[in-house]
Amino acid sequence: MKRVALVGLVSLVFAVAVLAQQKSGSAEQELLKLEQQWGDALVKPDLAFLDRILAEDYTFTSPLGEALTKAQMLAELKSGEDVVSSVVNHEMKVRVYGNAAVVTGHSTYKETVQGKDISGEYRWTDTWINKGGRWQCVADHASRVAGK
């Protein structure tokens, strides 16, 4: 009886561990996809998509230390002040901590702001929170890679 119980317990622990691993893996894939779609949405620009994935209290800390809100980011894209013509992501890494995740990456941007070409390479950190089964980005920071 004890052996049966032990085998049952071990099986349960194993199943929970496998489930947790799968959940974490799927979260990772989902976040990588969202990051890719984010880049695509900037190029289109698909403001409805950006509105969905950015939390209302989203903040972006720019390479120059500006703290920008979601409304400010969307307004610049909507007005055409900020035009992104291509985004290529590489070296993305996802770390999941329960309902939170940190994604870091390196991207090459072709972009103009107020007509000025600011194309280059950037390293960034995005913090995501899962609210009711949906991931939303709450904080974002980017640094321009020196000389690139």
């Binding site: 903040t59 007509g115 890679v145």
Partner: protein
């Protein structure tokens, strides 16, 4: 190097501190601000044990030149004296709490040396050239 270079802008720190349920968000906020200030003090006092304690083993930092360092690399830079912080002050804190995760943003001003040269951080807001911002979120 990492924190010194990053001082040119607003800093973002993400802390995955387990937050006891009995603590109200106000006290968690105060605890996190205290940790941030303690981090500054530890840099000036060379209290590497404190920094080792508050940084997770998978901690990473990205400086304003886009250089990424993990915890081990950051500790080596600090201990080597390559980055020497004489004083550091954080203000304009904003703490947002999401369950057991918190996002802390702040402005960081410092005085110190980097690779033997005097180095002082300054806030830049609003930016002198809006077009230099780079990367749309």
């Amino acid at each position: 190097m990492i924190r010194i270079a990053f001082a040119l802008g607003l800093g973002v720190l993400i802390i995955g501190v387990p937050i006891p349920a009995q603590l109200k968000s106000g006290s968690v906020e105060q605890e996190l601000i205290k940790l941030e200030k303690g981090w500054n003090d530890a840099l000036a006092r060379h209290d590497w044990a404190f920094i080792d304690q508050i940084l997770a083993n998978d901690y990473i930092t990205t400086d304003s030149d886009g250089v990424v360092a993990d915890k081990a690399q950051e500790m080596v830079i600090l201990k080597s004296g390559e980055e020497a912080v004489a004083s550091a002050v954080s203000d304009d804190f904003k703490v947002r709490i999401y369950g057991d995760t918190a996002v802390v943003t702040y402005r960081w001003t410092y005085k110190g040396q980097f690779k033997g040269k005097e180095s002082t951080g300054q806030e830049r807001y609003p930016p002198p050239f809006p077009g230099d911002r780079g990367r749309s979120g």
